[in-house]
């Protein structure tokens, strides 16, 4: 008996404190209990109606009765979980973030990662509870004919994956350091933005069942598709969770590291998945789409880096390796605007450079030049992006726009980009014909952050290159100082 108790105690100790607390609160709170009861009642009524309709039409064809009933039940299940679970998780975390309780956790031995993973785990356990309560009804549809057992479980797994993504998104949004009204706006956007996921999954479920998806479960194609979907969604979840961890980590810590490591990980994993797709389909377009998606994602990190602190604190500095080579290697993975810019630049460069390498490697005989155009477009965009980013930082550090605090320098970058994109268009419309270069859009759009794939790029490359070189020259001392101060803190006297 004592052995059994000690096993139970060990299991209890192994559980995350956050999971234990969240589940206790969920069980005690009225929301989950009411949700579960309402859900069960709806499922019961739906099943009853299906059976009644089935009995009335007994003479007619009932081969699709199980499938139709399943789709109804599945829709109710997904609708409930996609909306309620992420909202419940997000609101709870948002409320906790607004008081000092999260702060208090940091003076315990608990890690920010454990807090976020605990939230995700408890939400997914609640989801599983709802799934488990609906499982008898779902399985019962098998006996009504028109659906096979593997299809039921494949679709439930797909639904679970979609809910996990939405919960990760809700956690990420709840951790953003914004005011309460802004959080409400985000929450509403999320609620109404999340609902379209339901028809998409339902459409997939319908076509999967109609196409006899269950019968393909033993084929390689099915598992390849499932694995790629799993890889991409997991990568997205990891990035969202890493951003959440960074948001709840105290500012004194190296908040950038989990985000950059997660982004690097997703970069590698999605590149591998996309390369596999390219090999299978002999089509280079997935890789081009991957590169554009990565450059878009890394644009956010580059702009966000401008708002990071310039100097790192003693606590972060304590983690810097003493070895000079180690210092160089870890520099991009530390908090700080210079590190963030270097990391983003390296990742964008890597995303562009890896494209021709992989295409040459896996498709040596490809006649298509699509990827070369994509590389030129991305290179053009990257030069301008860093031109804008460094210009905004130089303006901010020179003392202009002091009403925008350093931690909001990203606003200045966005304003500069918008101004450069729209003012020339307005100028072209108003004065286009009255200037020496007339109606030639190329000159007018020379400073625009978005390259035009139709226009020749040489002029933009020259203009952007000179611009970037000038701002790099202006900021060289700043970069040098940042790197020089990037060293382990001297021990306190």
């Amino acid at each position: 008996m004592s052995g059994f108790v000690s096993i139970l105690d060990s299991l209890d100790d192994a559980m995350s404190p956050v999971v234990v607390k969240e589940l206790r609160q969920a069980v005690r709170g009225r929301f989950i209990v009411m949700l579960l009861m309402a859900f069960l009642a709806t499922q019961l009524v739906t099943m009853g109606i299906a059976l009644l309709v089935g009995a009335e039409n007994a003479a007619a064809d009932t081969t699709a009765m199980g499938r139709t009933t399943f789709l109804w039940l599945f829709g109710i299940l997904l609708g409930t979980c996609l909306l309620c679970i992420p909202l419940y998780t997000g609101i709870r975390l948002g409320v906790e973030r607004s008081d000092s309780d999260v702060d208090l956790l940091f003076i315990t031995t608990i890690r920010p990662r454990s807090i976020i993973l605990g939230k995700l785990t408890s939400s997914m356990l609640l989801t599983l509870l709802i799934f488990a309560s609906s499982l008898p009804f779902m399985v019962f549809t098998y006996f009504l004919r028109g659906i096979d057992m593997p299809s039921i479980f494949v679709l439930l797994a797909a639904g679970l994956l979609a809910i996990a993504v939405m919960v990760c998104l809700a956690i990420m949004l709840a951790t953003l350091p914004v005011s309460k009204p802004f959080k409400v706006i985000i929450g509403l956007n999320f609620a109404f933005g999340g609902l379209p996921a339901l028809p998409v999954i339902m459409a997939f479920a319908f076509s999967f069942l109609q196409g006899g998806g269950g019968s393909r479960i033993t084929t390689g194609t099915f598992w390849v598709g499932a694995a790629i979907t799993l890889v991409f969604t997991t990568a997205a979840c990891v990035v969202m969770l890493a951003i959440s961890v960074a948001q709840v980590t105290p500012p004194a810590a190296n908040r950038a590291r989990p985000v950059r490591l997660a982004l690097f990980l997703q970069w590698c994993v999605t590149l591998a998945g996309t390369t596999f797709l390219v090999v299978k389909s002999s089509d280079q377009r997935p890789l081009i789409a991957w590169m554009i998606a990565q450059v878009a994602l890394l644009t956010i990190t580059a702009i966000a880096a401008t708002s990071e602190r310039h100097q790192i604190g003693a606590r972060v500095a304590n983690e810097i390796p003493v070895n000079p080579l180690g210092r160089v290697a870890v520099f991009p993975f530390f908090s700080g605007s210079a590190s963030g810019l270097v990391w983003s630049a390296l990742m964008i460069l890597g995303s562009i450079a890896v494209l021709p390498l992989i295409i040459k490697l896996v498709m040596p005989l490809t006649p298509s030049n699509d990827y070369r155009e994509a590389i030129l477009w991305a290179g053009d965009y990257a030069i301008y992006l860093f031109g804008f980013v460094l210009t905004a930082m130089a303006i901010r550090d020179a003392g202009a726009f002091t009403r925008i605090p350093q931690s909001r320098t990203w606003i200045l970058v966005v304003l500069l980009m918008l101004a450069s994109a729209f003012i020339p268009v307005a100028g072209w419309i108003l004065f286009g014909g009255k200037t020496p270069f007339g109606k030639d859009m190329t000159i007018w759009m020379l400073a625009s952050p978005i390259p035009n794939p139709e226009e020749p790029q040489m002029a933009r490359y020259i203009f952007g290159g000179i611009w970037l070189a000038i701002v790099l020259l202006v900021r060289r001392n700043w970069f040098a100082e940042r790197f020089a101060s990037f060293r382990r803190a001297a021990p306190a006297a």
Partner: protein, 309 residues
Amino acid sequence: MRVDIRNLTRTFGATRAVDDISFSFGAGEVFGFVGPNGAGKTTTMRILATLDEPTAGDALLDGISVVQEPEKARHRIGFVPDSLPTHSDITVEEYLDFFARAYGLKAAKRHEVVAEVQEFTNLTGIREKLLKALSKGMKQRVCLARALLHDPPVLILDEPAAGLDPRARIELRELLRALAAQGKAILISSHILTELAEICTGAVIIEQGRILRAGTLENIIAESQPARRIVIRPLGQPEGLHRELLQLPHVSAVALTGNEVSLEFAGNEEEVCELLAELIRRGHRLAEFRQPKSNLEDLFMSVTKGGVQ
């Protein structure tokens, strides 16, 4: 256990919230941290609790730096912030159990510690109550219990008496006295200076991020008042006594208030006795001769200007 705050500075942009402050206190001491709103008390306490990082300087807990070794320092600190727990659907026991788990306490030990802490803070009777059903005083006791779970040698309490009724304040005071008697080093900030004066062995007065006075209460009061204040109430009319006091050595600032005469006396204890003997020798019949003790409130008002940043 010794807590040493050394040249601590914390800036937020151009604002110096904490400006090169240094003080120390040790086991069994209750140190009051006093200052107007915005003086830098909470910032200093958050740095001590490892929740914030100083721009310069350090704080050492028995030689362990809160900057260099925050994980080690955390095991030695119990922090009670100025906000109360907002969890609604959780009982007192579950809340304490959650934090005990977060401090890494394992099954049997955890149950034992939670029970002990509940008993010490007098929460055993309400352990099954939801946090939302508790009064402010009870919630404050829960906060204190939470900070005691890992038996830290240092306790940092930010405005623990704010908004408490007199009974809850007295209970809190008794708990803090008991903790100090157990050998804990306690730093407590409060605006209720009479409360602080009753439990504090020392104090730090801070304004606009700078320390104005620091040390034991006796020392800082003595530093602030180079001359003793003496109040004398004679039987009968005080005017004659007033006139004679003006001629005596070490006596200054003689003032007549009702039937009392107050004065400032620059002599030592021996000379105070001689003053009393001299007055009696001169035939004055004295109903009262006392040296009113200056309290923390008087001291606070005399050294601070009420400036905020």
